[in-house]
Symmetry: C2
Subunit: 336 residues, 2 copies
């Protein structure tokens, strides 16, 4: 890539933002100047980038006409307030918060629906989907030529890092207290997460679903371009620091050819198939890796048109920062 532009990262001090900055350096992302931004609370800190310390400034005062591309890795609220300013300044953006509607900022996973970029115009507004939608899309996209998907049942066991640093700190604190036989005090999580599973991540709406479950369903259908797909989504909080684990059950229109499924997964970009008496796990395999791991590939016990899978993925990397960085690279290479 010969082009490079000035770039901004909003939410640079959060778990995902900091990983994104690290990935921009690791991947030698084509950028000239990097602007690190955050809310006024976190501004003033510095992050290392290419051998220098870059000071984090407040997003409120930032002039988006200085950059060609901005990554929004902060809260939905920050995206809602500042994305229109970026757009008005002609700055393309990649949002990780999910705040923008699909119609305005389509969800894109490079391995699954990069072609959608051709239908858009600058300034681009893209959304990097939720971690579990991204992982699932990477695995299902290469199967679309083989299978007609009718329904996706998914139980996504999310790492506490999906709640940022506070989630990570609270699991560590709770675990230590319990191992030291101290009575449990609840702080960030409203009940015991250590050595337990929480049935729900965040508040449920009237119909009983949480934001992450609705996001997973909507985003998966949009990325796979399957608006009629039925998605049964349950997102659970697991006592795991990093790495999401997804138990997936697919219903297809016809009998599943397992050998063809394995061959498609073996050859798919961004996918690592683990089989032969082994299976992938979040910790040990996926965490720190750019690829999405898949294993336990098996047909239904009672239904030859059913396919069951286990997916493990780094929720901070492929689920967020890496996917966003890849989108940025695509935009710069072909579109900006």
């Amino acid at each position: 890539m010969s082009k490079s532009f000035d770039i901004a990262v909003i939410g640079a001090t959060g778990t995902v933002g900091a990983t994104l900055v690290q990935l921009l350096e690791e991947r030698d992302f084509p950028l000239a100047n990097l602007h690190l931004l955050a809310s006024s609370e976190s501004a003033g800190q510095s992050l290392p980038f290419r051998g220098k310390n870059v000071r984090v400034r407040t997003v409120e005062e930032f002039d988006f006409s200085q950059v060609r591309l901005a990554f929004f890795a902060a809260s939905e609220q920050v995206t809602r307030v500042h994305a229109p300013r970026a757009q008005a300044a002609g700055c393309s953006l990649i949002d990780l918060s999910g705040a923008l509607p699909v119609s305005q900022a389509p969800r894109v996973v490079p391995e699954a629906n990069a072609q959608i970029l051709k239908t858009l115009q600058a300034p681009y507004q893209l959304t990097s989907p939720s971690a579990s939608a991204a992982a699932l899309a990477v695995v299902l996209a290469p199967l679309q030529a083989l299978l007609t998907l009718r329904r996706v049942g998914v139980t996504a066991c999310l790492a506490v890092s999906s709640q940022g640093r506070e989630g990570v700190a609270d699991l560590a604190r709770q675990t230590t207290e319990l191992l030291n036989m101290r009575p449990l005090e609840t702080r960030f999580f409203d009940r015991q997460i250590a050595f337990n599973l929480l049935a729900q991540v965040g508040q449920a709406d009237e119909s009983g679903y949480t934001v992450v479950e609705r996001r997973l369903s909507t985003e998966l259908k949009q990325v796979l371009a399957l608006p009629e797909l039925k998605v049964a989504a349950t997102c659970v909080q697991a006592p795991v620091f990093f790495g999401d684990s997804l138990s997936v059950s697919l219903e297809c229109a016809a009998e599943v050819d397992l050998a063809a499924v394995r061959a498609a997964l073996e050859g798919a970009p961004g996918v690592e198939l683990v089989e032969a008496d082994d299976y992938p796990t979040a910790v040990g395999d996926a965490v720190g890796q750019d690829v999405v791991y898949v294993g336990r590939v098996r047909a239904g016990l009672d239904d030859a048109a059913e396919l069951n899978l286990w997916i493990a993925s780094d929720n901070v990397r492929k689920g967020a920062a890496l996917n966003a960085a890849q989108l940025g690279e695509l935009l710069i290479k072909h579109y900006l």
Copy 2:
């Protein structure tokens, strides 16, 4: 109950066996003399029962004609060897290992299919199903009058106590080592279970399924008397000491009436429905309790004939020892 008989518990020193002995005392189980048995390795220990210490003897030398009912809470192997001896001696038995085929020792959950006992003859041979099958059957049985079930998708996150005391000890050891920044040594579990999820519990067969998954599927269909039901089962090892958590997605023949489902669950024996901005968890709700907890009752996002649920249950009690004790009570009251 006025009748009482001499009873044997085989595998009395294991997690489930010891809990069963405790429950027999708590529930004032109608028994005269209790014989505690185990393999020769564990024989010689004593367990408290009704204010006395009862010595655990070896099962190999036990004369089953001394007892009217025996609980087999040991390994499949122990059941295979000694169940025929019990039967030959006219002793009824309740097996918890799953070693006996359905045709020979039907799976029974009192809340779901107690009526099957009427079709059997003494000496009775019953199986108390696997923990996840029992929990699921307790919740689905009261819904059968309302729903025509087509498919049950279940991801069962099993506690390490499903592996007995070694599983519990190894999760504690691994967690402590990791929190103390010591490198992880694997012992009972062949990889990191602390702060991780293992996609598989035990070895998988050629088709990719494990024994616990096949057991869950077979037992659920038999207990619900739905041989045509499609079951998509995934059993996962969670870093939880006690209490199984099940994410369940049901496909029904017609639109689900959520109000009727809730009413049926509210009134169902052995079920506790947790709703209204709350949800049940294994630790905190289910562990130590006799009832099975259910929550997150919601229709499908894309399919009104889909019903999603979350179930939390004590795998050692309702999943094993309690269900077996209840079966014993039924047998003694009505059949022996």
